[in-house]
Structure formats: structure tokens, C-alpha cells
Symmetry: C2
DNA sequence: TTCGATGTTCGTGGAATGTCGAACAAGTTA
DNA sequence: TAACTTGTTCGACATTCCACGAACATCGAA
């Protein structure tokens, strides 16, 4: 459903290192994080990943449950953004380290944005 | 066997972010890394973890295969140490971020060293 | 050579994970 | 109201992962 009205977003204090590390040990999810790394909020539909819709939904949920992203609902559409500040507060340096490692490795390069910048 | 003559230790260039992240998404393994964080080489026997010997061997292999630790064999005994420099070269900031997050969270606190510092 | 110590490997469960397609739900639009 | 759009949820499945005990291999000591 486009529902999940208020998917649970853990407070920074509730985030666990193990869960965050687990969430970031999948190429698709790292790719999603990379796409969101510019800080802009993105609509589900903009995200391009080589997996089925349900699978993408699953990955986005894993990221959200770990506290890595925040999901907002607007009408029928959902938007995601990186919880950069919260992450930096809770686990200083971790996100940046992962992001720079990922970009030097092209991890998650299979994930991208839709052609038409029908974005934000 | 105390053998594993030359356990494969990946070169820094062969390490992958995904594998490293996966290796560090288990409490036991993070605990082991924390124990090794002081840079000292430790003997298998010194390591205390709430798992069977074979399971500990498994975790140490996952860490080694990911390039996080280095294993050395001396006679019948094996020694492990953190590949801090290699890790920092390959994934700058990652190890430190994980270590500081782990210590603030007490992740892997169940892992420790043997009582008698019969150590190195 | 015969033990004992130290780790690895094997076989086996049980749990978690990734992926898919199909079914469903809620909001939009015609 | 009847479609259509957008995501979520539900099995189903294959794979991977963690954990254990048992068996095995190697080194060192008796």
C-alpha cells in the first residue's frame, strides 16, 4: 500500500550498528544510498534498480528500519531521503566512509535515477 | 588443522566494501575486531567468545577472507591481528568509524580476552 | 610412537535474506 | 463509479549464514 502511514523510523538512539552495517552490506542498498547521497529527496518512481518492484520495496524498508532513510508519503507517492544528520550523530564518520568507499568501488552502480529528471 | 598453510589474505585491492560490511555486521565479529583494535597480535586461545570452537574458527575466517585480519601460524598455534593499515588505505575512515560506534554501543562486548594474560 | 593440544573441515539443522509474481489497498483520475 | 497508479504484503523458493558436534590433520611433548 502506499499507506504505511508512518512507517517506523527509529530515533537515532534506537539505531544499532549491527543493523546499519547489515543494511549496508547489500549492493542494491548501497546503490540506493549513493543515489540519495546528494541530499535530495527522491520519489520511488525515480529509482532505478535491477530488481522487481516488491524487492525494491523490501530494500527500502530495510534501509528505513535501520534508520538510514526517511520515508514520506504524499498522496499515492512516496519519497525517500537520506537521514544524513541523524546518521552522523549516531555513527560519526560511518556514512561518509561508506559512501566514499562505495564510489571508489562503483558499488551499487546498477542503481540509478530515471532518465527524465521528473524528480523532486 | 593448524595448517591452512597460506590462508588467502586478499590484497587491499581485492577487498570489497560489501564483503567488509558483511563481515562487520555480526556482533561476534565486531567484538573480535574490537579486541584486536589495540594493534596487538593475539593467539586464538586468548580469544573468548560465547560460541563453539568451530564457530569461532568460522568467524575468524570470514574476517580474514574479507581482508580485515591477518592470520599467522607458528607451530601449532595461530595468531591474528587487525590489518589496520590496509583497511585504512582501502577504505579510509571506515574501520575507525565502526570501532568508535561499536564502543559507544558496547557491540560485541561478549567477546574478550582470556583471564591470564598468557598472551603474545 | 603415542598422546595431547590446536584448529580446520564436514555434515547438519534452523534462521535469516534476496527475489519474484500475485494479490491487495489506498489515492487519482476519467 | 470504474479504471489506473503506486506501493505494500503474502507466499514460495533458493541461497546464504550462524551454530554445533564430530572427525580429521598437524605440531609438539612424553
Amino acid at each position: 500500500m502506499v499507506v504505511m502511514r508512518q512507517a517506523r523510523h527509529p530515533d537515532p538512539g534506537e539505531m544499532t550498528l549491527i543493523e546499519v552495517m547489515g543494511a549496508l552490506s547489500d549492493p542494491i542498498r548501497v546503490g540506493l544510498v549513493r543515489v540519495l547521497a546528494d541530499g535530495r529527496e527522491r520519489g520511488w518512481g525515480e529509482l532505478r534498480a535491477p530488481v522487481a518492484k516488491s524487492t525494491l520495496s523490501h530494500h527500502l524498508r530495510v534501509l528505513r528500519d535501520a534508520g538510514i532513510t526517511r520515508t514520506r508519503q504524499e498522496g499515492t507517492r512516496c519519497f525517500v531521503e537520506l537521514r544524513r544528520d541523524d546518521l552522523n550523530t549516531r555513527f560519526p564518520g560511518l556514512l561518509n566512509a561508506v559512501l566514499s568507499a562505495a564510489s571508489s568501488d562503483a558499488v551499487g552502480a546498477q542503481v540509478g535515477l530515471a532518465d527524465g529528471p521528473s524528480t523532486a
